[in-house]
Structures are given as C-alpha cells and as structure tokens.
Amino acid sequence: MRASLCIHLGHITVKTRTMGPSDMSVGRRNPPGVGRGLAVRLCRTLQRKARLHRVILLAFVCGLTLVSCVMPDTTTQPEVDPGAKVEAIQTRVAETRAEQAAKDEEMAAAQDGNDEAVEETAASDDADSALVVGPTAQQLELLAKLRPQGEAPELLNEIWLNSDPLKLADLRGNVVLVEFWTYG
C-alpha cells in the first residue's frame, strides 16, 4: 500500500512540475520557439527525475518493508526476555538469600561468642564480687561528683560519750560521718 501511494505521489509531483513550464507567465517572457524547446527539455529531464524519484521511493519502501520484517524479531525478543529475566532475578534472589543466610549464621556465631564472653566476664565479676563489692555504675557517677574537699581535720576532743576517744587517723578504711549538733 505504501509503495503504491508513494508512486502515486511521485506521479502527482511529476504532473505538477510539468505544469510549471507550460504556465502562461513563463510563456509570455520567453520567445515561443525557444520556450517550446526548453519546455520539451525540461519535461524530459523532469521525466527522468521522476523515474529516479520512483526508483528512490521504491528503494525506500523496500527498505521500510525490510525493516518492518526485521522489527518483529526485535519486538518478539522482549517476549522471550521476561522469562529469562525472571530466571535471572530468581537466581539473584536465591544468591542474595544464600548470602544473607550465611551472614546471619556468622552473626549468630559471633553473638554466641559474645554471649559466652559476657558470661565469662559475668562469672569473673561474680568471682570478684565474692571478694569485694564494687560500686555500681550509678554509685560511680555519684562518686565522681563527690570530689575530695581536703583531709578531714583530726578530732582533738578529750571528753567522749558512748565511746572511748576516737581519732580519724585510726578510722582509715571506714566511712566516717562527723556531725556537728546540739541537743538544745
């Protein structure tokens, strides 16, 4: 259909162009003898050109048909591709899953190791705490705030109640609370 249409179009163009030289305006300007000769020459050349155009058009149409014949192959390819793609995706997913599983296993193994380590440290902490009770994290925080404000002055009082005279120097290793008070 395209080819026939194109040929028609070519014919039309030839017709329209052949009309040009026989136009009255052109005829008026040139002498009648020369004009006729020119017209004939032009017609011949144009006819030749028209043939050339037809050949070119035919070649173009053939090219198009060829291309259209080849195209289905390229268009049908995607129909084949999805299956292959799906397979590729499936294999990729399987691979990534396998990798993830391997990683998970590694992580689990590492965590087990950590847990064991924690258990070990806990065990060692228990062993330590059996000897001396260390301050908790909260107590350490508090102790950090309780900056030493200087050595407590020695108690030099001679009269004591409830006890023999005490010296702070003898109470090292104990926590001492010195309270100034009056019963009044």
């Binding site: 001396v132 009770v133 260390g134 301050p135 908790t136 107590q139 508090l142 102790l143 309780l146 900056r147 030493p148 404000q149 200087g150 050595e151 407590a152 002055p153 020695e154 108690l155 030099l156 009082n157 009269i159 004591w160 109640l161 409830n162 006890s163 005279p165 005490l166 702070l168 120097a169 109470l171 090292r172 290793g173 104990n174 926590v175 001492v176 609370l177 010195v178 309270e179 100034f180 008070w181 009056t182 019963y183 009044g184």
Partner: protein, 102 residues
C-alpha cells in the same frame, strides 16, 4: 542518723557526733548524756565545749554533716535537715568505693 548507725555500722560506717554547745546549759555533759538517752543515740559523741573541732572544721552551722571517705578525705558536706535519701546514697557509694589510702 540512728537508722544509719544501725544499718551500716557493720559495713565500716562510723558516726561521730560532735556536740558543740550553743548555749551555756548545753555545756553540761550530764545534760548531753540525758539527751543521748532520751534520743536513743548510741553512736560516739565528742564533747566540743571549747569549740576546737568546730573551729578546725571552720564550721558555722547546726546541724552540719561531713562525709569522710575511707582515705580520710571530706567528700560531701550537708548543712541543715533534709535530703536524707541522697545522704544515704552518698554513704552507700562511699562504702562501695575502693579505699585509696590502703
């Protein structure tokens, strides 16, 4: 105070009451002794009638509590009443602390 004495005495916590009199009648040791009985105070009390300890501590208030760690360092000063929970947590922390002097 009495509670702390009962609670932490076995853990190495010593309370020393320094009785510094404000008025003349408080200088009488007998009166102090009676007060200890009345208040059921069992911990050691130093009679600071000449204000020597008061002066050496540069103290200015009643009551005033000096919390001394195992190394003999003053770590916390509490002036006035109240905040007993915090003071008790200070005692617990100082008891839990490793001695730096030893």
């Amino acid at each position: 105070m009495r509670e702390w004495h009962e609670k932490y005495a076995d853990d190495g916590f010593v309370i020393i009451g320094v009785h510094t009199p404000e008025f003349t009648h408080e200088r009488d040791v007998d009166n102090v002794e009676k007060a200890l009985e009345r208040l059921q105070i069992e911990f050691a009390v130093a009679i600071d009638n000449d204000w020597t300890t008061w002066r050496s501590y540069h103290n200015r208030y009643w009551p005033a509590m000096y919390f001394i760690d195992k190394g003999g360092q003053i770590r916390y000063l509490k002036i006035g009443e109240g905040q007993y929970d915090y003071s008790e947590s200070v005692i617990q922390a100082l008891l839990a602390e490793q001695s730096t002097a030893n």
